[in-house]
């Protein structure tokens, strides 16, 4: 198949898997060309640097090639690859040089130190935002930049739970932490992200 050739009929998944297991070169090309765009988008959720995201995709396909013999078909091929690229991205996230991060505690809500424990900071209204407006390019850039400012351990939980929509138990297993830790990190990540977005989404904000 030539790059960008969208006219040829794709093999069924069963046929594709059989051909992959038999080591047929064309099957690998179909697998890579069909899945790499989506897997690259997944890797970019964890790895803002494009080179890191591409490395993770490459690592993921190499893992998939090695694991193909053990692929049982219990899940769809695309689901299996998705899982592998998430793992590859998390591995990459942990091995790259750490960047300066915001202190999460500075972004959590503060409360009066009495029995009422009222909010210390004014919770100003956000402007009404319809889905079309929310996903405008400038908002996408702004939200993704805010997510990138979160410490890695919080960003990865936010990505796995709120973006990949994995459940708490799966995330806990993937990260090797307890479900309680996942819940705490997710709640703090969301609160910190709210604080980072607050100046941009307040009524009257530019």
């Amino acid at each position: 198949m030539s790059p960008g050739d969208g006219t040829r009929e794709l093999p069924s998944e069963t046929t594709l898997v059989r051909n992959l297991k038999e080591g047929e070169a064309g099957a690998f090309e179909v697998l890579v060309r069909e899945n790499s765009p989506r897997l690259l988008a997944v890797a970019r959720r964890y790895l803002p640097k494009e080179a890191d995201a591409q490395d993770a995709v490459q690592d993921a396909f190499l893992s998939a090639f090695r694991g193909m013999a053990g692929f049982t078909g219990a899940s769809k091929l695309s689901t299996w690859l998705h899982r592998i690229v998430v793992n590859a991205s998390l591995m990459k996230l942990r091995t790259r040089r750490r960047k300066p991060e915001v202190a999460i505690d500075d972004l959590l809500p503060r409360f009066e130190n009495d029995a009422s424990a009222h909010h210390l900071d004014v919770i100003a209204a956000w402007r009404e935002t319809a889905p079309d407006e929310l996903t405008r390019d400038e908002n996408r850039v702004l939200v993704r930049a805010a997510i990138e400012r979160l410490p890695d351990s919080y960003r990865e939980v936010l990505a796995l739970r709120d973006i990949e929509q994995l459940d708490t138990a799966d995330v806990a297993e993937l990260l090797g932490v307890s479900k309680g830790v996942v819940k705490t990190r997710l709640h703090r990540a969301r609160q910190a992200l709210r604080a980072l977005l607050d100046p941009h989404f307040r009524e009257g904000a530019p």
Partner: protein, 86 residues
């Protein structure tokens, strides 16, 4: 329930994991505390924003051909050897 406690229960409430009695107290707090009601709305908007504002799938032409070729060069060959190993 005070505002600090309310805030700490938001995630469990959204997941439907608060015991019935505690959920009722949580909802009663919303009705009497505009700042917490606002905070809850913004917390939910934040979750939605994070989900909606992710990169869309790359289009096929956006994946560099060099990356595809590098991946394909490492595919297993029919003789069972692994090209990634010396």
């Amino acid at each position: 329930m005070n505002c600090r406690e309310f805030t700490s229960f938001i995630a469990d409430w959204l997941d439907g994991e608060l015991p019935v009695g505690q959920a009722q107290v949580f909802q009663a707090h919303i009705a009497m505390c505009p700042p917490c009601e606002m905070y809850l709305l913004q917390y939910q908007s934040t979750v939605e924003l994070a989900r909606l504002c992710q990169p869309e799938d790359a289009v096929p032409g956006e994946v560099p051909e060099a990356l595809i070729q590098a991946i394909l060069a490492a595919r297993p060959t029919g003789d069972g050897s692994d090209p990634t190993q010396p």
